[in-house]
Every structure is written in structure tokens, then in C-alpha cells.
């Protein structure tokens, strides 16, 4: 008993140490329409840029200092990081250093906690703060977001910071798209990750019925466009369901970057959903197959093993 406890303690020590060194004062960005997607939320993509006046950045943070009665938070954005020797977020331009910075929104006074979430500000405010006036950019722009914590007199007492990335370049389209029947009404799809920059992060699968590979007229039995995804990150296979058996579908795959910029479609591959036999199905449909395969359920196996272990233990005690 002592050794397991020591082992647990030994394992817990590094974790405790790590917990003590986790930095505070971190700003995160939640993707609109999700509850906790802080991967895509940290990006401004082509779609968000095009709709920047009506699309929000959703912020959450944990400040370095506890809330002070009468205090406030001020969100700032800049094209440069907070200097290492400073605790004051940059909030105005400085032409001599090439700094573009601005306050975002008004001071937040109704959040009397160290941790704050659900704060929304328009994408346009962040782009304007760093002088990004166009959605046609070729490289990734980093927007340094710094939330200044202020006391009741407006003096800076702490901060939290994070990074937004602005990118509109899509990844390359997936190659080698293949599709085949998975189950009734479902297709299994696989593809090869495109070798591109930015890298593909996840994928969308689309299936549109066709009359034949040479005739893209939708089949009247199922004319709707079916979609699935996004897949888990970096997956190179997926499934799409809700299809009609016996109908041919053109299946395409779209790659998305972390910014959720979408590539052109990869494919198409053509496949027809239908009943698929796993080994048991195939066995059961073979003439001469038995009904159940075995005479008992598998649950008795572990019990038998336990009984044997007890027998050996008893023999060992006797010796």
C-alpha cells in the first residue's frame, strides 16, 4: 500500500509544481457560436474580415490582480507586444517606434472578478487599432491584445494579454480523395493532407448526388447537398451520413486552416451508399452458418479467470 501512495505522490509532485508556475493574466478568444472553441476564436479570417462590423471577437481573461472596488478593465490592441519591463498596455500610436495601438470599447466596470468571460467587441475595432484597413493581405498579422486592470483612480495595477491572428490565405485543397460505402446511408471518405502554408487544420466533407460521374445533374431521389464536419484536427478520413442507398454521390473535401479559411474542394470521388457486411454479417449470410457463434456470453470468461486465480492462490498458500 505504501508503494502505490509513494508513486501517486511522486506523480503528483511535478503536477503541483506545474500548477504553481502556470502564468496568469492570459486573454483567450472564444469562437462565436461555440462555448469553448479557443482555437478558431483566436483567428480573424477572410469571412470575419468581410463582415467585421457585425462579427464580434469574444474575450475571456484572468487578471493578475484581484478586483479592486471601483476598478475597471480596459481592452487594448496593438501591433507590438507589451514590453517585458512594462505593466502598462500600449493604447496609442507611436510613429517613432511604428506602434499602432488603441483602446477597444469603453472601460468595463460591471465585472468585479479576477476572471471575466463573454466580453464582445467588433472585429473592426481590433483591425482598425493596428491599422489593417484591407482584407487583402498575404501574410499573417499578429494583433496583441492587452487587458489593463485599473484601480478606482484609473491607475494600472495589472494586466492580462493574448494574441489574435489575422489571416485570409486558405490552405491547399486535399488530394487523393476516395469514398466508399460504410453502412446503409453512409460513406467513408479519406484524403491526403495538402502540403501547403498555412497548414490544413480540419476538414469539411460534402456529398452531392449526381446522375453519373459524367453527368452532374442531381439525382431526383436526393437532390440536397449533404455536409459533415469539421473533422477532428488533422484527420485524413471521415464519414458522411444521411444519404440514400443506391444513389451515386460526388464527394468533395474542403480543408480549413486554424483561421477557418476554406480551401477549394478536393475531389470529387464517386460512391454509392449501400448495405455493408462486417465479418459477422458475412458469416451469418453464408449457408451453413450457426445462429450465435458461441454457446455462452463473454461475461463468464473473466469470472472463470478469477476462479483460476483463486485456485492458484489457494495452492500457493498450501505450499
Amino acid at each position: 500500500m505504501r508503494r502505490p501512495l509513494l508513486l501517486v505522490a511522486a506523480l503528483a509532485m511535478p503536477a503541483l509544481g506545474a500548477a504553481q508556475t502556470v502564468p496568469t493574466g492570459v486573454v483567450q478568444f472564444v469562437e462565436p457560436g461555440t462555448t469553448n472553441d479557443i482555437i478558431h476564436g483566436a483567428w480573424i479570417n477572410a469571412t470575419k474580415c468581410a463582415n467585421q462590423a457585425t462579427t464580434n471577437v469574444i474575450l475571456q481573461w484572468t487578471a493578475t490582480q484581484a478586483w479592486v472596488t471601483g476598478g475597471s478593465y480596459q481592452i487594448n490592441a496593438a501591433n507590438q507586444d507589451l514590453p517585458s519591463n512594462s505593466t502598462t498596455c500600449p493604447f496609442q500610436n507611436n510613429s517613432s517606434t511604428g506602434l499602432y495601438a488603441a483602446k477597444i470599447g469603453v472601460p468595463i466596470t460591471n465585472q468585479p472578478f479576477k476572471s471575466v468571460s463573454g466580453i464582445q467587441e467588433p472585429v473592426s475595432a481590433f483591425l482598425a487599432a493596428v491599422n489593417q484597413t484591407s482584407c487583402s493581405i498575404t501574410s499573417t498579422v499578429t494583433i496583441y491584445v492587452c487587458v489593463q486592470q485599473l484601480d478606482q483612480n484609473g491607475a494600472a495595477i495589472g494586466y492580462a494579454k493574448g494574441q489574435l491572428k489575422f489571416e485570409v490565405t486558405p490552405p491547399g485543397a486535399p488530394t487523393g480523395v476516395t469514398a466508399g460505402p460504410l453502412d446503409t446511408g453512409a460513406l467513408e471518405v479519406s484524403w491526403t493532407q495538402p502540403n501547403s502554408s498555412p497548414q490544413a487544420y480540419d476538414y469539411l466533407i460534402e456529398a452531392q448526388s449526381v446522375t453519373s460521374p459524367a453527368d452532374s445533374t442531381p439525382d431526383a431521389r436526393d437532390p440536397a447537398l449533404h455536409t459533415a464536419g469539421p473533422t477532428d484536427p488533422y484527420q485524413t478520413h471521415g464519414t458522411i451520413g444521411g444519404l440514400t442507398d443506391g444513389v451515386m454521390y460526388a464527394v468533395t473535401v474542403i480543408a480549413r486552416s486554424q483561421a477557418a479559411n476554406e480551401s477549394g474542394p478536393g475531389g470529387p470521388a464517386y460512391a454509392v451508399p449501400q448495405v455493408v457486411n462486417d465479418f459477422w454479417d458475412q458469416y451469418r449470410q453464408t449457408p451453413g452458418a450457426v445462429e450465435r457463434g458461441g454457446c455462452a456470453t463473454a461475461g463468464a470468461g473473466p469470472l472463470a479467470l478469477l476462479g483460476l486465480a483463486a485456485l492458484v492462490a489457494a495452492l500457493r498458500r498450501r505450499t
Binding site: 453502412d183 457486411n277 462486417d278 459477422w280 458475412q282 458469416y283 458461441g294 455462452a296
Partner: protein, 241 residues
């Protein structure tokens, strides 16, 4: 996990034995014997297709054989230089075969799809084993022959293309095995003695064996046949401790 538990059991059993033998580290002959532990692989393909009007196993998984990993722990009932060793024990292992699910093409023939299906077995067995190791113990000739009879229970399941369990069950049967074991101690006797002194392992054998098994619920008409397709070959290591 199971093999780790077995190994832990082996070490726990072996260490006290070693301590009884030579507390000062000077050889006093072999340490007392508790039993043995063996681990190996069995060349295996079930005889599922036998007697059917088709070949579902071959169509799904192909013609080739697979390997079943096995580990066993044995307790000596009696042992002696003149009598050999009779042991009782249990064994478990794992076997998996993956293939492609089948669908009918336009002509009505079954063809493989890109969807996966798998057949998996966790065998649990118990039985008796007799090792004629008199040549080793009395004359130093590094070979022992052995025989074994086991009650077998194959716990199995099939996975569908969606990854879920399509069906699960268990099939019982028996097996009889004969084998020959080569005593590895002769390759480095000094190391072998140190291994005994440090860990309580008397002997280490390399074994090769052939098994005849019948895994069909003892001929039940409601069970399929998971017996090895041919008398099955297995090989591995045995530690006598």
C-alpha cells in the same frame, strides 16, 4: 495490462525464493521452485469456414495466418530431478485480425470496401502441464520435452465499420500440446546462476510446440469452429522459478 500483472506476480513470487537461497550472494545451488511463467506467440487462423457453403473468413480477412500472443502462469504440483515437473496453471492472450467489410457490386458479387471490420479474441485457458526435465536436472543435457492439456475458452467479438461491437460471445473447447524446450542457461551458465541468485529464476527455456485444439463448444451444433485451422505452432520463452 494483464501481462504486466502476470509479470508482477512472477517477480513477487520469485524474489522471496531468491532470498531463501543465498542471502550472502554465494551460490548454494538452485533456488526453491514455485512454478513457471511462459510467454509466446501462436500461429493461428480459425477454422470458421469449415463446413460452410462459402468462405466468409477468407473473403474478409484473407488466407494468411495471424499471431496470437499468449502468456501463462503455472504452479508446480510436484517437481523433482527424477520425476519431472507437473504444473497446474492458467493462460490468457490476445488475437486480432482486421479486414475490409464487404459489399455487393453491380454483378452481385461480394467485393471488399474501404470500411474496416475486425475479429478479436481474448482466450482464457486452464490446465495441466508435465515437463520431463530429467535430462536437464540429472544429466545437464539442455533439452526438456513437455505435454499439456487445457480447457479453452475463447472470448471473442466482431467490430463493425462504424467501430462498434457487432456481436460478442465465447466458445469453449480443449487443446492438447506437445513441445520441446531448449535450456538457454547453457549459453551462459554464469549469467544463469546470477539470474537465479538475483531473481529466483532457476532456468530459462526457449520452446517450440505444436497444438491440436478443438474450440467448438465440444461439437455443439449452435457454435462455430474457432479451432486452429491446422495443428498450430507456437514458440516463446519459459522462465522456471
Amino acid at each position: 495490462m494483464r501481462r504486466a500483472l502476470l509479470a508482477a506476480t512472477l517477480l513477487a513470487a520469485a524474489s522471496p525464493a531468491a532470498a531463501q537461497v543465498s542471502p550472502n550472494g554465494i551460490g548454494l545451488g538452485p533456488s526453491p521452485r514455485w512454478g513457471s511463467f511462459d510467454v509466446g506467440v501462436l500461429r493461428y487462423k480459425p477454422n470458421v469456414d469449415a463446413g460452410l457453403g462459402g468462405t466468409p473468413w477468407q473473403d474478409t480477412f484473407g488466407k494468411s495466418y495471424g499471431w496470437m500472443l499468449q502468456a501463462a502462469l503455472w504452479k508446480s504440483i510436484f517437481t523433482g530431478a527424477a520425476s519431472g515437473s507437473l504444473e497446474v496453471g492458467f493462460r490468457s492472450g490476445y488475437f486480432q485480425r482486421s479486414g475490409h467489410a464487404l459489399a455487393k457490386d453491380a454483378s452481385g458479387a461480394w467485393v471488399p470496401t474501404s470500411a474496416d471490420t475486425a475479429f478479436k479474441i481474448v482466450p482464457t485457458s486452464a490446465g495441466l502441464q508435465y515437463r520431463a526435465d530429467q535430462l536437464v536436472e540429472r544429466f545437464g543435457i539442455p533439452f526438456a520435452v513437455y505435454g499439456r492439456v487445457m480447457f479453452e475458452r475463447y472470448n471473442w467479438w466482431v467490430t463493425s465499420p462504424t467501430g462498434s461491437w457487432s456481436v460478442k460471445g465465447a466458445t469453449n473447447g480443449w487443446s492438447a500440446t506437445g513441445g520441446i524446450a531448449f535450456l538457454l542457461d547453457v549459453l551462459d551458465p554464469t549469467l544463469a546462476r546470477e539470474f537465479d541468485r538475483d531473481s529466483g529464476v532457476n532456468h530459462t527455456y526457449l520452446f517450440l510446440e505444436i497444438t491440436k485444439a478443438k474450440i467448438d463448444d465440444f461439437g455443439s451444433s449452435r457454435s462455430w469452429d474457432l479451432s486452429p485451422k491446422d495443428p498450430a505452432l507456437a514458440a516463446g520463452l519459459t522462465l522456471v522459478f
